[in-house]
């Protein structure tokens, strides 16, 4: 692991913040579209998630890709719904609120942890600068 640069922990923590922010964005989008039975393509909204990977040189983290969740759309009996099929069932987004809330909580905590790293490291750098006084 070639971590020799002075500001490495800053870059690493910032990459963590960006990754968790990206996660929070996608989770937010899932939640916002939890009831979108009819998207631009006429189909229900399909849940998305972010896959992370280590950054360049095994340092930090990056967003590798955004993947669609391929679990089946739940079918709900709603005969009055314009999107209902001939049997009166509507396909709804495969977003489950409790799951999304849990992921949002995790991503928030991870975001906080990276913030703590940044804050503490900047503090340490200040103390190091005291050597020059």
């Amino acid at each position: 692991m070639g971590i020799t640069r002075v500001a490495a922990p800053i870059d690493i923590a910032v990459s963590g913040l960006r990754a968790q922010s990206a996660k929070l964005n996608v989770i937010g989008n899932n939640i916002a579209n939890a009831d979108t039975t009819h998207g631009p393509d006429g189909k229900p909204y399909r849940r998305q998630s972010i896959v992370l990977a280590t950054g360049e040189g095994q340092q930090g983290v990056r967003v590798q890709q955004t993947v669609a969740d391929n679990t089946a759309f739940p079918r709900v009996y709603e005969p009055g719904n314009p999107d209902a099929d001939k049997d009166g069932y509507v396909e709804t987004p495969n977003v489950q609120m409790p799951v999304e809330m849990m992921h949002m909580l995790q991503a928030s905590k991870a975001y906080e942890a990276n913030t703590a790293v940044l804050k503490r490291y900047l503090d340490a750098m200040d103390v190091t600068a005291e050597l020059l006084k």
Partner: protein
């Protein structure tokens, strides 16, 4: 045959190790959600103890090592980073680092006091 370190040499060694550890722990925290990622740590106590024993204590020989302990449980994503533990380690390392810096500053202050005669 063993050789002891001077105060400044010892502090330099401690600083090198804790400095590297700060980066390594920061990386663990950044990758707490990365599939397949195993936490890493810095090995130095053993390196130093061995060096003192064998008498090879050139500052150049005292290199802290990045290791992958692999003794922590992985979750279903193959990741073994425990956020709370890692944040705890980060705070510890941070405190140690600052302590060593302040000790080093005190040493330099001592030396400059010795030079003054007023």
């Amino acid at each position: 045959m063993s050789k002891d370190l001077s105060m400044v040499e010892a502090l330099d060694a401690g600083l090198k190790a804790t400095n590297l550890r700060q980066s390594v722990i920061a990386n663990n925290i950044a990758n707490m959600d990365t599939p397949g990622f195993r936490r890493q740590d810095v090995q130095f106590k053993e390196v130093l103890a061995k060096a003192l024993e064998t008498g090879k204590t050139d500052p150049g020989d005292l290199e802290p090592k990045v290791v992958t302990p692999g003794d922590t449980e992985v979750n279903d994503q193959g990741n073994d980073v425990d956020m709370d533990m890692e944040v705890g380690e980060m705070l510890k390392t941070n405190a140690q680092y600052k302590m060593f810096v302040r000790m080093l500053a005190k040493e330099y202050q001592r030396m400059s006091e010795a030079i003054q005669t007023e």
